[in-house]
Symmetry: D3
Subunit: 164 residues, 6 copies
């Protein structure tokens, strides 16, 4: 196979050339990641969510299904993510103060690379699903603080977010 | 990572909370599953299918391709299914009595969990494809008896349907 | 544009050549379709479903979400289906006798072609989702009688299944 | 078509039954929506982003492509969203203070329902793509304040976020 | 809605900023496009294709299904393509000289923008499917001359390729 | 499980019955494949591409993202391909003579089967993306010579295209 002349090549390649990290030399190991997002709603919307009385139905269950399905499709959405066989995805909800609904997701795998993006995609799509189901009763909902809480496995071991 | 207070948590989580079984501790092993469905058609439709004379084309080949493709996407369709690398998917057809076309699919994998849902998804989408291709010549077609015929591998070994 | 020589052409084309019906000349109009499937389970599984006590969570809600999402992707699954903008998809469940859980879906659109396949895909994937969620407690579940119940709109008007 | 007995039916249906709003009676009209998200990074990551010197390549262009593609697939991700033909999707970036990169997306359509979810999905996936491309150089990045800025068209006319 | 300061904005936006053409002001009209690709194979492979004797099965039918399905998903694959409701997709094959199998696809729509990319995607994926099915019997197959043959409808009317 | 009578069976199965090769008995090993395609454009389009001055934005970066994403979805597009966890996908561009832009992709995996189709799908969709982004300034662009350049790993070891 003739290689392209690197001199010619370099300035033809896009400057910000995208590189999908080669994980072929890494060892597959158990890994997990937990991410969170907060959906900020009004007191009235909080009540409707708690009582499962939204006109479009139970937002939390729909969000759970949507988040799990999205986690499995992360590599289709985020260009440089590697496809991973997820061992499990867990999505849970908790009220963290008035009008502050936290979505939390944990993804697990045995693979050569981590599952942060899977956990983050799960909470993002779950939060968007809640947004979609409450937008008929409240405009101006925001999704706050999508972030990684914890990451386990791989070369770097355990990492936890500095502030809870 | 601060855990949500379980007391608060419990009644915030959807009652019917969905749980994707964690297969991370299971050993990957060879597994297979065979499923079947029966498409029930009129004598005239049977003749058109046998003679490959349907106006929309050869339904069986289209159904075979559709079933194989769907098997590979099972985890996108069935929320709590794990993504699996399929070693093979096989789809075949046989007439099981007048107007009774059986679709049979076998899926194989080396994985931590079984492939029943992949085989069942394959026969379901293959049967729907046949439905789609004959619906211009016959309304009222039904798809009967989608079921698992056999399952091999994993902790539970071989399982066969009680009645053939 | 030079046409291929039809004489040469004919025997090169697959015999059962697939033809996606051209709907370009049809008028867009309101259309709906209702389909059903029956999931046949044991008395014990029926109780677990009714009490929402399955280990994997509430199967009916998961099935509802899965069925709605699948309806929107029908054209990706069934090769000769046209992509359609669905106005709505509705999925409901009812017990139709001991151990007989009926899944019923209605799809609606304003389009040049009908939505039978969307309603049928919705009930099929919803039924498979229930299968997936009960298979840990019961092997040998079957899905029976996937069929169209009613179709409205388009040139052929209203069609109802001969027997309920 | 025989209707299920509503008395029997009611307690068989999931409590929080999901309802995809039927938009069939609405008139198609021009609609747009603009959403934003803020990715909060360290000074060093900001410099790498500005100089396009990240090891994985130019995060902003990758994020733009990922956001546009995700907007087109919103209805596959958010269960009760209607599929919409998008007239355009626009994604832009601006620094809104030290370490605060704003992602802004505008989606447009001519349809029977709005495009808020498409704009919100675009900024969410674009922000996740940036996260993915900087996570090798900075852990602890957060995505803040995903929200709708403006919505035009449909029955409710123009809506703007109360605070910019 | 506060606009980002354009001066600040310009050098934050990716240089080669992607723009999805806004088709909202265009009128929907009937459009079609025909594309072609040539798969170049050895005499032995040609014989196996003609006799449908390939070990993996009938490549032409599989290619037809794959091409039709891919055409419907063009907007998921090509970033700046608009989602379009295809009225029909037609795929045919003809031998255009020894070892030269032409794949030809025609896509039709009633929409605000053309369907060139849909026809080109159809022939590309159909050709790749043939490649996949013959690669076990012949390495070194090439796909030649993927191009548009004709385009009809829209402001620019009929366009035909300069040389057939 | 009762087997269908093979005599009856044989003439009910489609003649060109599709067979997805069973890779379950193969050993997973490191594999790679490099493919190329050439996009042939006018001198004016070449200048616009080199100067990143196309009205729709930087075609090469968009093509890179589209190609990487498509490689990960090869098994959804090419019916008999096996789903594979890609270790990396690399896409690069070089001018190979006046108006001849070469797209080159290398895919890597540790799997039981090769990644030719992934590399070929990557260059095909990357080339189509370039086509889409230049078609507003030049009609009549062609994509030439999609082919495999090199393949490593698996039972057959290294294979290189006969002519560079």
């Amino acid at each position: 196979m003739s290689e392209p002349d690197p001199k010619v090549f370099s300035h033809l390649t896009p400057d910000g050339r995208l590189t999908m990290v080669d994980v072929g030399a890494k060892t597959a190991s158990e890994r997990s990641a937990t991410a969170a997002a907060v959906v900020v709603v009004s007191a009235r919307t909080e009540a409707l969510l708690r009582e499962r009385a939204l006109p479009k139905g139970d937002a939390l269950v729909a969000a759970q299904v949507a988040g799990i399905l999205a986690a499995k499709r992360t590599a289709e959405l985020v260009p440089l993510c590697h496809g991973l066989p997820l061992s499990s995805v867990d999505i849970a909800f908790s009220w963290r103060g008035p009008g502050r609904l936290e979505v939390r997701a944990t993804a697990r795998t045995i693979a050569q690379t981590g599952v942060e993006m899977e956990a983050l995609t799960a909470v993002s799509i779950a939060a968007l699903t809640i947004y979609d189901m409450v937008k008929g009763v409240e405009r101006g909902v925001t999704i706050e603080r999508i972030r990684l809480l914890e990451k386990r496995g791989g070369k770097s071991g355990v990492w936890s977010a500095p502030e809870p």
